[in-house]
């Protein structure tokens, strides 16, 4: 059963990049998106790198011709090492959604953010 752990203050998290916190001895990245706060384990399922220390960004949408449609702006994190792109909300790796970064629910109480692990 998930336990609630204090992560950080809401004001400590910007929409630009993850705030890395230590929760229950785990390194966790807390992100701020349009629809609220999200948290990912700061470990890339590819090679174990510091996933959430990579840029928070968007990418090109899959198209049927030579065009570049920028999509999901600010909704992805690119792993700090090898650049695999993960959806911050679901943890899914874009190229192969079967591979997921571990994600945790976040709740807000006043100004406090809690991660449920």
């Amino acid at each position: 059963m998930a336990e609630k752990h204090f992560a950080c203050k809401a004001e400590q998290v910007s929409a630009e990049k993850a705030t890395i916190v230590s929760v229950n001895n785990l390194s966790v990245g807390v992100f701020k998106l349009d629809d609220g706060f999200h948290a990912l384990l700061n470990v890339c399922p590819h090679k174990g790198a510091a996933l959430c220390e990579g840029p928070q960004c968007g990418t090109t949408r899959e198209t049927d011709k030579e065009e570049f449609v920028y999509d999901k702006a600010g909704e992805l994190v690119r792993c700090a090492w090898h650049g695999w792109e993960f959806d911050i909300r679901t943890g899914e790796f874009l190229v192969d959604p079967k591979i997921r970064a571990r994600s945790f629910p976040v709740t807000v109480e006043d100004d406090d953010l809690f991660v449920h692990i």
Binding site: T60, E62, K65, E66, H82, G83, L94, V95
Partner: protein, 360 residues
């Protein structure tokens, strides 16, 4: 076993056989103009490496034009029970080295007419490749449309030496025409001179044998380029055949392409699958010259990694010095039926399946 030889060179003794198929300016240039050698030489920009022995087998010594077929029949087709020989010409792919694309195109057209006229009627086992000069893709596409519906033409052929990587959109009119005619696009080792000035990375190597071993570099470039530029998304049914460029490098390049794509797919949003998946569905490799490690298991593990059972097609390269003898082809025995014939029949769909097979 039904056998398709995907690289059988129909030689000539002299390129003057093309004269009846040329006219006007380009015939004058062909007859009176400068060329790479004496009368009978095919005009091309030559590579800077000369084979120390000449690169035909020394037991193949035609004197008259008709000897070329007679020797091929006796020493190759009949001897090894070849059921289908895909004719790949010889010097004509060197037209890709010429700076003048109009002359190059005229030479290719003359060769294609000669091949259809002279070679195809000689033997029921013959199926033809039409050669095009890729340095002007519009002219190449027009030639593909001119002859592409000939019932015994089964592919479009160019040299693997090229002025730029074949996935470049510059070349897409060629693939459009191939797709329209339902023909595979094939590249054969060659065309390493003239305007195709970069067959070897870092600059020209020194010796012929050294160079011949590393010429597959160029094929790696083409394979990556065709996949990355989305040629197989635009023309999903197009097959690309890579001839005489080695095969054991393929898994290594695919592994590297897949790894990079996973990180940087955003550069090419038109791709919907891993590079290795496009390879398996759309690219076929001819076997010759199949690498020869001391431990055959090392080769077979590599071939398995590229799904060789389904991506390899037997080729002899008759009558060149590095000819592969089909009876000694060192592939896993359980793959032989596919690699020796069935895979080619999937690519060259104009060739009818043998009756026994069609009934299955």
């Amino acid at each position: 076993m039904f056998t398709v030889d995907c690289d059988c060179h129909n030689y000539w003794c002299s390129a003057t056989v093309l004269e009846p198929y040329m006219e006007g300016l380009f015939k004058d240039m062909f007859v009176r103009g400068e060329r790479t050698g004496p009368r009978g030489a095919f005009p091309h920009g030559h590579r800077p490496w000369f084979h120390p022995e000449g690169f035909a087998r020394h037991d193949v010594q035609p004197v008259e034009e008709d000897d070329n077929y007679a020797i091929m029949k006796a020493k190759h087709l009949d001897k090894y029970n070849i059921d289908v020989a895909i004719l790949t010409g010889d010097e004509p792919i060197e037209a890709s080295t010429l700076a003048n694309p109009y002359y190059a195109d005229a030479l290719c057209r003359a060769y294609n007419d000669y091949m259809i006229d002279y070679w195809l009627p000689k033997d029921e086992r013959f199926w033809g490749s039409i050669v095009v000069a890729p340095q002007n893709p519009q002219l190449a596409a027009a030639e593909i449309r001119r002859l592409g519906s000939h019932p015994r033409v089964v592919q479009v052929l160019v040299s693997h030496g090229a002025a730029r990587p074949y996935g470049d959109p510059f070349y897409h009119p060629i693939y459009e025409a191939c797709a329209e005619m339902g023909l595979p696009f094939a590249m054969h080792l060659g065309g390493q001179g003239g305007i195709n000035s970069t067959p070897i990375g870092a600059g020209p190597s020194t010796f012929f044998w050294e160079t011949h071993a590393i010429l597959p570099q160029t094929a790696m470039t083409h394979m990556a380029s065709l996949i990355a530029n989305g040629v197989f998304e635009k023309w999903p049914d197009l097959k690309v055949v890579i001839i005489e460029c080695g095969v054991a490098w393929v898994p290594s390049v695919l592994w590297r392409l897949d790894a990079n794509f996973k990180a940087l797919r955003k550069e090419t949003p038109w791709l919907k699958r891993l590079p290795s998946e496009y390879f398996k569905s759309n690219i076929r490799m001819s076997t010759q010259p199949l690498e020869q490690p001391e431990n055959i298991q090392h080769l077979w593990a590599t071939l398995e990694a590229m799904d060789g059972e389904n991506t390899l097609m037997f080729a002899s390269d008759y009558p060149h010095w590095d000819y592969d003898d089909i009876t000694k082809l060192h592939i896993p025995p359980q793959w032989r039926e596919k690699v020796l014939g069935l895979n080619a029949l999937d690519v060259y769909t104009r060739i009818p399946r043998p009756v026994t097979m069609a009934a299955e």
